[in-house]
Amino acid sequence: MGSVTGIAGQWVVVVKDKVVASSDDAGEMFRLAEKYPEEDTVVTKILHPRASFY
């Protein structure tokens, strides 16, 4: 997946390059993603531009 637009910090379900759902809960997004064809679907997180991690 090359490009995505979404709310900072949220998990999104992307189907055919279009965001179809978003949530703070990754598990919820992975469950929802099961409804879409596997080959068209990606679950990813929108990082805040100034995010830092562990």
Binding site: V4, A26, F30, V42, Y54
Partner: protein
């Protein structure tokens, strides 16, 4: 492990501010801020479940693989308290759990063999999938071509 060379473009994101519901702007140009991160496509599996395709952030500052707790719960992982807490970059200790997962790199029908990984699961927080050094950086030679916003991953071969 199957030896596959990968090349991935960085993921381009335009981020919407939670409060204003508007794109975060580039301070210099006033246009929506584009950010690029070195995510790689992957699938994460447990003995019980297999995720849809997802993306992990290559993070050389992380010792290993980190997944959020809500993903661990989705995968129905057996979480064991870690013997040591996770120390984050600012020196704080964070309670964590550990569990075995299988990490498969790739997408679109082109995948590595699954790699068994002991993943860390922070008790709090909502990190992305972080792909740290062990074992992915040990098993691959990874080149970040920052100027072109892409990376190359090749199975490590001793010369």
């Amino acid at each position: 492990m199957s030896a596959i060379d990968f090349q991935f473009n960085y993921k381009r994101s335009i981020t919407i501010d939670r409060l204003t519901q508007r794109p975060i702007l580039d301070a210099a140009s006033g246009t929506p801020l584009e950010v690029f991160h070195p995510f790689i496509p992957c699938v994460i599996s447990s003995e019980k479940r297999r995720s849809r395709s997802t993306e992990g952030l290559l993070d050389s500052g992380s010792d290993g693989v980190v997944i959020p707790r809500t993903l661990a719960e989705y995968l129905e992982l057996d979480l064991e308290p870690a013997s040591e807490p996770m120390m984050v970059a600012d020196g704080r200790n964070m309670e964590r759990f550990v569990s075995k997962i299988m990490l498969t790199i790739g997408r679109g029908g082109r995948y590595s063999d699954p790699i068994e990984v002991e993943a860390s699961v922070p008790a709090k927080g909502n990190p992305p999938v972080l792909i740290g050094r062990e074992p992915v950086f040990r098993l691959h030679t990874i080149t970040f071509v920052e100027a072109e916003k892409r990376l190359e991953m090749n199975p490590y071969r001793k010369v």
